[in-house]
Each structure stands twice: as structure tokens, then as C-alpha cells.
Symmetry: C2
Subunit: 310 residues, 2 copies
């Protein structure tokens, strides 16, 4: 039976493969919380923050996020935002988990029901030209609505549960495509450049999927193990499998690629790529790169004009 | 039996996997020579060139290079340079192949025997601290000597047989390490920034290993199929296997990574990374980044002071 590297007790199954380290449950929890705090401090994520909105889907990552933030910053005003995406056999389970989670952690929460508030749900995109890249569209919808809700609530930070695996998957894709304008936006913190844009922080960006799963389980935090049925077999899932293969061949691959990006390549790219100036969308008034923001562009394809429209 | 995509005749085994294309022997040769010419023109590799030195090891890549350059630029003054690296059971076979190659193509050549001229051979590094990264050391030795010989001969270009697989393997490594100063040096052409440095060009940078092998075989150009015994199981070889795996999963991976680097990322990095100023090495007088050039640094570890020293 392996021993905990930290306290010497029996280590009951927590193996940090990238660090070749066994830890017992208690020491793992300490390690995890210390590491997240370190990420937060290193990037000044909560410097001057008064009110933080935490995006919670009900999955292992965002459940871990809510708990660790509550632990690290117990005094900070906090609200959880949950988007019910209207995916049959999945979204309602997620919502129930979030309700349980927030009540356990004693955090106020907002549930925003996409169908009720916006007149469409994510599966509606399946019958549009966006059907083949539904994960991308869903990401745009979530990013837009989280910002809008957090802005209206008066929050000065949005925290999301993006983990190391998510970020490395995107980095791999963007480096391969040479998408330099998008690469410079992959950062631990996206500071706002528009009055209606809330600062976005990713406190779990250095934690692997596996670590978040361990933490949620070890702390008995409610989370759902269900996966989104629309994401199955997606390009993103295939890339993640490929990255797992790379990690198996090059131990530490994910941590290396992330660190090389953030510490070495990103600062150089930032010097030669201008930050784009955000305008206001002509339709909704929220921040936009073009005349019409990407949310208004894509939602116009599915919005049922008669249902709950302003 | 598949048909040649170009002429419709039976295609006898030339499959360009990345382009999903079958070609007959004659059309493959035309395709190959046109593509190399295109690379040369696109990057102005031979603009104003009067005298080109071609590095030939005797392997498939450099044999293909010498032939295709002879075909594309038959009027250009040309010399082949072969370094005999003193690797038992390998180097002498390479040298014989080069002699045969140059006599078939009617190209003047210089054989530079490392042991005779420099007092050491590549295997001598095995017993030094450089033993574990002997491929890297060999690369430094070759780069240095090729430049010195080409410079003394009065050549204004050095052409090397680096292929797409070589370059992608290095790019993968450097992006993973975030080695930005080294990344900006991975270019189709390295224009000289010092009077004693000869412009370096890589005309085969867009051709795969497999294409070079096809071309050498199809044109009955002499080349050796032996692999360097010192390179077996090296980090470089392992990375190449990994890249083959990536190519299998993401068709066109190698071409994509190369193009993204050269067209999109490199120009941005170049804007924020200064070209280092080359000095002259205090020992040998050749271009150097530091007081002592890397060749003098590493060769001092193996040089037998009494053998053929100036």
C-alpha cells in the first residue's frame, strides 16, 4: 500500500500522475486548495474583488470551483449562476445537483432557464447550420449569458471551472491552426476592456480534470457524473483522447504546454497582436467585436419569434 | 488498381496520403520538382545566388536534394559537401554513396573527414557529458563545419535536406518547451547576419520524408538506406514516432503545424523577439552568440590535442 508523500499515512488512491505523488485524502485536499490559492494569487484574480459570480454547471469542475472558492474566500460576496440549457435527460439533473450543491455550501444562486428566458434551447441548434459545431455554439451562448447575468447582478468577477485539460485541448487546436488572435485570448484572467464586460477568471486552470474529480469526491461535494449527450463523439472529445495519448507518451505534457504558452509564448504574442476594440452590439447593446455580437447572430437562427420575446 | 490523378494511367504505388492522391512515377517526379521549385521561389531561396553548396549525407533526403537542385538550376555553380563523421559501419558507406551520387549527377564534391581534419569523430562524444544528447551535438558540429567549408569555398548559399518531418519534430518540441528564441530560427531560409555566415536554405522543407524517398527511388538516385546507429532509440526518433501517430489521427497534421508556424505564428514572434547580434568566436573567429562558439565549446571536450591540430 503506498504511503502519502506528505504525512506518511496510507494513501488511499490519490495519485497525481504528473507529479508521481501519492497523497492521502486529507493531504490531497490541502494540496488542492493551496494550489488553487496559488493560481489565484499569482495572477491577481481576486485583487480588489467585491462580488464574484461563479458559473456552475453541476459537473465535477464547477462544483469543485464553488467549494474551493468558498473555502479560500469565505468573506467574499458570492453568487452561483446556473444556465439550464434545455437538454433532455441532462439539464434537469444538472440543475437539481446545483440546487443541492448551493444549499450544502450555503451560496445564493440564480437559475437561468434558456428556453423560458431566451425562447430557445441548445438542442434547437441541431437543425441549423450550427448543428455540426454545437459545442462551439453552446460555448458562445454560455459566455454571453454568464456575462450579461453577472453584469446585471453587479458582479465584478466571473469565475469558471475551466481546467487544465480543457485549456490544453484548445491550445493544441489553436497552435495547430496558427490562430494567433484566438491564442492571445487563452489566459488565466481576461481583464475587461468594456464597461459591460465583467472580468473573467479561471481559478482551476492549473488543475487537471482528474484532480477536480478527486477534490469533489473527497469533500463529498454534490456533482453529476452525467456527460452532455450532445458532446459525445465531438471533435473536442476526440482531441481530448489524443491529448491523453500524448500525456501517456510525454509525462507532464499538459502542464508543459500550458506553462510554455502562459509564461513564454503568450507574452511575446501579446506584444505584436493588438487587443481588439469592443463596440456595443446594435441589437442587444452588449460588448461585440462586430456590429452584431456573435450571440445575437447565432440566436437569431433558432429564436422562435413568438415565445417570450421582449 | 488505382489511376494516376494527373494523367489517368495506372498509378504504380505513389500515394500522397496527406493529399489523398495517387500518381504514376512520371507524374510524381513532375509534382515533386514543381513543388520544390515553388518552395524555392516563394521564399526567394536562390534570388541572386551565384554558387551553392549542398550538404549531402548520402541519405534519401540529401540525395533527392542534390538531384532536384541540379534539375531546377542546371546552370548554377554547385558543390556538394560531405562530412565523414567517423561512425563505424555507417560513415564509410555514406561516403561511398555520395561519391557515386556526385559522379552520376556530375557535381563537384568535397569530402571532409572529421577525424583527419578536426582530430575527433562523432562517436568520441559518447564518453563525454554530451553522450546523452549526441544527436544534438552532431547537429551543432555539422552546422558549424558546413558553414566554415562553404564560406571558405566562397559559396553564397548552403542547401540542406531538412524535410517536413524533421522540421515538425523540432517545432513540436520547441512549442512544448516554449522555446521562443529557438522557434524564430525555424525558417525555410536563414539569411546571414554576419560576413562569415553563409545564407542557409531548406528547399525540401515542405516535402515529407516519404516523398523524398519516393523521388530518390523513382529517379534511381543513389542513396543509402542505412540509419545512423547512434540515433537509434534517441529522443528525436521517439518524437517522430509520436508525430506519425498524430498524423494518423489528424490527417494533414504535419503540413498544418508547419504552415501555421511559418505563415501565422513566426511573423508575430519575429516582431517581438530581437535577432541576436553575432560576434566572432575568440578561439576560431567564426560567428558566435557568446565569447566562445558552441562548436569550440563542445569540440574542446573531445579533441585530442596532438592529432592534426593547427
Amino acid at each position: 500500500m503506498p504511503r502519502c508523500k506528505s504525512c506518511g499515512k496510507t494513501a488511499d488512491g490519490y495519485v497525481l500522475r504528473h507529479a508521481k505523488m501519492h497523497l492521502c485524502k486529507e493531504c490531497f485536499i490541502k494540496y488542492y486548495e493551496r494550489k488553487v490559492l496559488n493560481t489565484i494569487l499569482k495572477h491577481g484574480m481576486l485583487k480588489g474583488a467585491r462580488f464574484i459570480a461563479v458559473a456552475v454547471s453541476g459537473g465535477k469542475d464547477s462544483s469543485a470551483l464553488l467549494r474551493v472558492l468558498r473555502k479560500i474566500a469565505p468573506e467574499l460576496k458570492m453568487v452561483a449562476i446556473h444556465l439550464n440549457l434545455g437538454i433532455a435527460g441532462y439539464s434537469d439533473e444538472c440543475q437539481k445537483t446545483v440546487e443541492e450543491l448551493c444549499s450544502q455550501l450555503d451560496v445564493n444562486y440564480v437559475v437561468y432557464d434558456l428556453r423560458r428566458e431566451e425562447g430557445f434551447s441548445i438542442p434547437d441548434f441541431q437543425d441549423t447550420p450550427y448543428g455540426r459545431r454545437i459545442c462551439g455554439v453552446c460555448g458562445t451562448v454560455k459566455r454571453y449569458l454568464l456575462n450579461k447575468i453577472a453584469y446585471r447582478l453587479g458582479a465584478d468577477r466571473i469565475a469558471t471551472g475551466h481546467n487544465l485539460d480543457d485549456v490544453v485541448e484548445i491550445l493544441f487546436e489553436l497552435y495547430l491552426r496558427g490562430a494567433v488572435e484566438e491564442l492571445v485570448r487563452i489566459r488565466p484572467v481576461s481583464w475587461s476592456t468594456h464597461p459591460k464586460m465583467v472580468h473573467r477568471i479561471k481559478p482551476l486552470i492549473e488543475m487537471t480534470e482528474e484532480e477536480n474529480l478527486y477534490y469533489s469526491s473527497a469533500t463529498e461535494t454534490p456533482f453529476t457524473e452525467s456527460k452532455c449527450p450532445l458532446g459525445k463523439g465531438s471533435r473536442m472529445m476526440k482531441r481530448k483522447e489524443l491529448i491523453a495519448l500524448l500525456e501517456k507518451n510525454i509525462q507532464g505534457f499538459k502542464h508543459m504546454l500550458y506553462k510554455s504558452h502562459v509564461k513564454r509564448i503568450l507574452p511575446k504574442l501579446e506584444q505584436s497582436i493588438e487587443e481588439p476594440t469592443l463596440k456595443e452590439c446594435k441589437l442587444c447593446g452588449m460588448p461585440a467585436l462586430k456590429e452584431i455580437c456573435s450571440y445575437c447572430k447565432i440566436s437569431s437562427k433558432v429564436r422562435k419569434a413568438d415565445v417570450n420575446q421582449p
